[in-house]
Symmetry: C2
Subunit: 316 residues, 2 copies
Amino acid sequence: MPHTRRPGSCPQPARRCGAIAAVALLVLGLSCPSSRGLAEAPPPAAARTMADVLAAATAADWRPLDPARTLYLDLDRGRVVIELAPGFAPEHAVNVLRLARAGYYDGVPIARVQDNFVVQWGGAGRALPEGVRERLPPEFEVAAGPGLPFTRLPDPDGYAPETGHSDGLPAGRDPSSGTAWLAHCYGMVGAGRDNAVDSGNGAELYVVIGHAPRQLDRNIALVGRVVLGMELLAALPRGPAPMGFLERPEEGTAIRRVRVAADLPVAERMPIEVLRTDTATFAALVEARRNRRDEWYRRPAGHIDLCNVPVPARVR
Amino acid sequence: MPHTRRPGSCPQPARRCGAIAAVALLVLGLSCPSSRGLAEAPPPAAARTMADVLAAATAADWRPLDPARTLYLDLDRGRVVIELAPGFAPEHAVNVLRLARAGYYDGVPIARVQDNFVVQWGGAGRALPEGVRERLPPEFEVAAGPGLPFTRLPDPDGYAPETGHSDGLPAGRDPSSGTAWLAHCYGMVGAGRDNAVDSGNGAELYVVIGHAPRQLDRNIALVGRVVLGMELLAALPRGPAPMGFLERPEEGTAIRRVRVAADLPVAERMPIEVLRTDTATFAALVEARRNRRDEWYRRPAGHIDLCNVPVPARVR
């Protein structure tokens, strides 16, 4: 059957590309359909695209993932890389690291895949390993003191008085209460809980795979973010039972194993970097996305939703 | 391997359930894990959950899909049902109906699956059938006159002065310009275009499968909404090439055929109903979702984002 690809008729059009790692482009959903623009002078600052901004980023704009809080979650089809957020959920991070090191998640099926909401897994039938606490304090928000990095976004948000990024993580902040919290954007990882607020412990984890369910913010502990591999989780077949549960989880996708990057020899760790969110480069990236400037866009939005801000990652 | 399901530890907890069609629950992502609550007195209005509201809905709260603008898009794994929006994109609707009736989409591969963005297909290599216009006016917004239904949401939005629903479709409105437009929420269907604003014609269609890319609003024509079957599109394996294109689309998922419901004998049409969005029931549903009230939620959001409002559908 004949089929001609027409990238130009995509809702997001072709963009100029410079010397950017291909993986960063993939994470951002940009493309390099031609070499057009490579030899051109850089466009004026006011018209910089996201690709322009990333192409001009320096080594200092990127930071390596911290192996001590990075998880490699291996599926048969590939790897999901998660960075934990001990700055927001320290007790949960301790538990999750201990669970991972004890092999608690290994072989566990992804038992829930609810369309436009979450995937979820947990070794619920298994006894918790030694040193893992069964109940944890509800780490739903933290004090937004001077020690907490927070790069504020310029636009208003309906769910939080202020939004921004804290060390690469989407977050809300309330100056009146002096608190901050992680936001349920696509790719965020949380710890399932029962009705009691202290009933979560990290043994059951979920990942947001749909439009941001921000109503969950401050109701449950987010523990980290998927940095790479979201496409593997988001493409899992949806569970047919209520709330997206699989009827036979054992026939679904299982987690082969979860390891802490720091436990692997250096040569086996993935050289992943994420764009720092406390830099002029990141601010320029946000601005380029708030107001898209290229031949395709006719009406720049003049606004960006917290969960529409990409935090690029790349494999060096 | 032992595994005990623990629905109670889901981020969205169990809810009370009444006499609601199971499909409506599925669309909403609710659950009926037990019969608890069935014999209880109804909770006070202020504490009604979404399930409560739907259980109390009457026949007049639902409307049948209009077969003249309903498409059945059949994949090998199931059916995607699309309702076109001639009120917002009349010329596109005419073209899409003609393309469907000419078999233009039949056998076409879904050539683009970009994570957290869109799926896209089109018979780009095929000649347009007779009667199908190659270029269409840019139907990006319409006059928001008294003839245009619009049920406004109570909360502010960053992308539009006002948001709400127009005959079941998420929409923005600007009183200063007197215009309204469809919004790029999860499940919305649009017509791909090239850089020229009149280059879209419906031969190439996309569906939003991720966090709402609202920056596209008013930059491209949305032509309808997926009413049922989103889980089939959203779970497609992501394309590895830039912008989510498949390297070998012919090996991916193909559209078996697309038909207009009105062209089928009545007995073969699906008896689908969608909840009306201009009723007190819908307003109550929105309020129940703005402020979740059950044992699990500790902090009602007091806000709802346009693209977080469900428009339930059911098969009678």
